[in-house]
Amino acid sequence: MRRSIFAIPMVLSVTLFAGLAGLSGPAIAGGKQVRYVGIHPIPKSEGGGICYIEGPHVHIFEADKIQYRDHHGDNYFVGDPVAYGYDGKRYAYKGHHPIHVNVVVGDDDPDDEYCYINGPHYHYFAPPEGPEFKVVGDAYFYVGEPPRVYVDARPAMMKINAVYQPMVYERPVVTVDAPVGWIGARAEFVVPTAGVVVDGPRAGAVVVPPSAGVSVEAHIPAPSIHVDVGIGLPGVVVHERAPAVIVRERPVIIEERVKVKHDNGRHRGHR
C-alpha cells in the first residue's frame, strides 16, 4: 500500500492528540484497575458493603479466586451477596447449581459457571426457566445433569463454604423435601476426600480420608466436636490431636430436614 504524503500531518496530529490526552485525565497511578461485571461485595478495606453496578465496570481492588469467576476478562461474583449486606431483590437456592452468567449480565458471551455453596443461600438473580431447576418452597433446586467441568472444579471450589459457614446473616429457610433428582442427594457427585472442611481453633485436626463415596464436614470448635457426614459407607473416622476425639463407624444417612407442623389429630392418621 502506498502512503500519501497527505497522510503525514494526520499521523502527526494523532500523535499530538495522544500526547495531550495524558494531560486531560488522570493517569492510572498507584491503583491498578480490576474489571468486574455484576453486583459484588466490596472488601472491608475499601469500605465494605455491596457494589450495585450491574454492567461491566472497574475498581482498584482485587477479586478473590474463590468467590469470583472469570467472565471474558471480567470478575463475576458467584457468592451470596446477602451475606455482605445486599438489600435488593433476592432468590433462594439450595445446594450447588449452574449460573448462566451471560443471562445474568445480559451479554452475548455464553458462560456457564457453578455455585458450590452448600445448603440454602441467596443470589440476586433467578435462573432462566427450564427443566434444570425445580422450585419447591420458594427455593430453586438444581435437578439437571452437571457436566464434567462442574465435577472437576468441585474439590477446589467447595472451599467457598469455608468462607460462608462462619458468616452470620439471614440465610433462606428451606424446610421442604428436595425434589427428585436434586444434585444434593445424588451420591455420584459427592467427592470422596476433597471437600473436607475443618474449622475451629484446633488447627492440628486431622481428617482421615474415608471410604469412597463419603463426604465429611468436620467442625471442631472447642470443647466439643460436631461432624456432619453427607453420604457414603461406614468407616468415617475423624481424628483430632490432643485431646483425641474420634468419631467412627457411624451409619451415614442423607438427611433432608423437614419441618412437620402438627395438626393436633385432625388428619386421618389419628382417627
Binding site: 492528540f17 495522544a18 495531550l20 490526552a21 494531560l23 486531560s24 485525565g25 488522570p26 493517569a27 492510572i28 497511578a29 498507584g30 491503583g31 484497575q33 466490596i42 469500605g47 458493603g49 455491596i50 457494589c51 450495585y52 453496578i53 450491574e54 454492567g55 461491566p56 465496570h57 472497574v58 475498581h59 482498584i60
Partner: protein, 120 residues
C-alpha cells in the same frame, strides 16, 4: 470545492453524532439528574468529547460516527477513569464514561442508575 465538500461532510457528522450525546443527557435530565455544564475534553480515543460532573461523579461523553466506533473505544475510555471506580460503555453512537474519583458513590448505585438510564 474540495474544502467545501469536506466541511459539509464534517458538519453532517457533527450534527448526527451530537444527537447521541444529547440523548444521554436528555435521559438523565428527565430523571432530575442534573449534569454540570460540559466542556470540551481532549482524549486519544475520541475527537468529539465533553466532560463535566453529574451527581458528584466525573462524566465524559464522546460522540462517534457509529455505535460500532463507540463500542470499539470503550476499553480505551477506562484510561480516562484512572485509579477509581468507573465504567466505560457505548450507548448507541455515544461513549459514556463515568469515574467516581471523589468516592461520592461508594455503593455504585448512582453509576448503575446513570448507565441504565442512558439510551442503548
Amino acid at each position: 470545492m474540495l474544502l467545501v465538500a469536506a466541511c459539509g461532510k464534517g458538519g453532517d457528522k457533527a450534527a448526527g453524532s451530537a444527537g447521541a450525546r444529547d440523548a444521554v443527557l436528555d435521559a438523565w435530565k428527565a430523571e432530575k439528574l442534573a449534569p454540570s455544564a460540559l466542556t470540551p475534553a481532549t482524549v486519544t480515543f475520541g475527537k468529539d468529547c465533553q466532560s463535566g460532573t453529574i451527581e458528584g461523579i466525573d462524566v465524559l461523553l464522546c460522540n462517534f460516527a457509529s455505535p460500532a466506533e463507540a463500542k470499539a473505544a470503550a476499553d480505551q475510555g477506562l484510561a480516562w477513569v484512572g485509579a477509581a471506580t468507573g465504567v466505560s460503555q457505548a450507548h448507541g453512537a455515544a461513549l459514556v464514561v463515568l469515574a467516581d474519583r471523589r468516592k461520592t458513590d461508594p455503593s455504585g448505585r448512582t453509576i448503575n442508575r446513570l448507565m441504565k438510564l442512558a439510551p442503548k
